[in-house]
């Protein structure tokens, strides 16, 4: 497959009709395949786009490329950079990775279909950022690690000890789950909305402890300090790295519009 297509990054209000290039925000800003980022307008909305090559972003090519970690990382980071550039200027609905239309006219038709819905999502996102909070089951050292003295251990004593080890472990797991729920509920009170992503696989999180909570919160900028301090207070009496804050993010987890 040859030819080009239009890759979509983010929807905004029509500020970008002529303002994106004029604002200087697009200076040196390149899209996922190196082409400059442009703005197209339709239906009372604007959308940041760039041209991509179907050899790289056509459907068949994407199936292959999405499995290539280096390609995936490069593309995701560039997509994120464009979305962040938009979010620095104005309220932004980020689009999913690899949202691609045949050409600018097709992208404009998609935008026009979304008009009323996207406008109300933008209103909802005004003045708010996303923050991420991850909670890990980093516990005090396990109390069942104490070595058993073999000479003094009878079979019955061993079984008894083993049973209480398992009970303690189960109780710890339950406490950890309850702690994660409590963290989520408390932070949700300080946020406009919360969203629980699936906890990340331990092999991917980079932390040698199971992830208990992988949450995102949409927080009013005016309450960002309060939110951060709340996370800090929750983390203060936990082991280091038990609670990790990320952000501010563009509102990736909260800009939900459905295809009409």
């Amino acid at each position: 497959m040859t030819g080009s297509a239009t890759y979509l990054y983010a929807i905004t209000r029509p500020l970008f009709d002529d303002g994106f290039a004029a604002s200087g925000a697009s200076a040196g800003l390149h899209g996922v395949s190196g082409a400059p980022v442009r703005s197209i307008a339709a239906g009372g909305l604007a959308c940041l786009v760039s041209s991509v090559d179907l050899d790289e972003f056509g459907e068949d090519a994407l199936r292959v490329n999405l499995e290539d970690l280096a390609w995936l990382e490069r593309t995701a980071r560039q997509h994120d950079e464009v979305v962040r550039a938009a979010a620095r200027l104005t309220t932004t609905i980020p689009l999913r990775l690899a949202t691609i239309c045949a050409d600018d006219a097709a992208a404009a038709r998609r935008l026009a279909e979304l008009d009323g819905q996207a406008a109300s999502v933008l209103d909802d996102l005004d003045g708010r950022d996303e923050w991420g909070v991850k909670v890990f089951a980093v516990e005090e050292p396990p109390d069942d690690a104490a070595p058993i003295e073999p000479a003094r251990t009878t079979g019955a004593a061993y079984l008894q000890r083993r049973r209480s080890q398992l009970e303690r472990r189960t109780a710890r797991t339950e406490r950890a789950g309850q702690f994660a729920d409590a963290v989520y509920r408390q932070l949700e009170d300080c946020a406009a909305r919360g969203y629980r992503h699936r906890p990340q696989d331990q092999r991917l999180s980079g932390v040698a402890a199971p992830m208990l909570l992988n949450a995102a919160f949409l927080v009013d900028r005016q309450r960002a300090e309060e939110f951060r301090h709340m996370v800090g207070a929750l983390a203060a009496d936990r082991p280091p790295d038990a609670i990790v804050l990320t952000g501010p993010w563009p509102p990736y987890s909260f800009a939900s519009v459905q295809q009409p």
């Binding site: 980071r77 689009l95 949202t99 239309c101 045949a102 996303e130 992503h197 092999r203 951060r228 987890s253």
Partner: protein, 62 residues
């Protein structure tokens, strides 16, 4: 009173996995007209296969 404790903030750039949670796992569902079929693929599965394969390589090479 809430103690004024600064939380531990993860450094930049964001971890790839955190980013992919957001760019693939959540967010706007707007199908590009060229990628409608692709949206039917479980992209999260694609992502995890790629990442786990890579993480495995890293572990083995260490």
């Amino acid at each position: 009173m809430t103690a004024l404790v600064e939380p531990r903030v993860a450094g930049r750039p964001a971890s790839l996995v955190d980013l992919l949670d957001r760019l693939i796992g959540a967010g706007v569902v707007l199908s590009g007209d060229l990628t409608i079929c692709l949206a039917g693929v479980d992209l999260v599965t694609v992502k995890l296969r790629a990442l786990i394969a890579s993480a495995g390589d890293t572990v083995r090479s260490e």
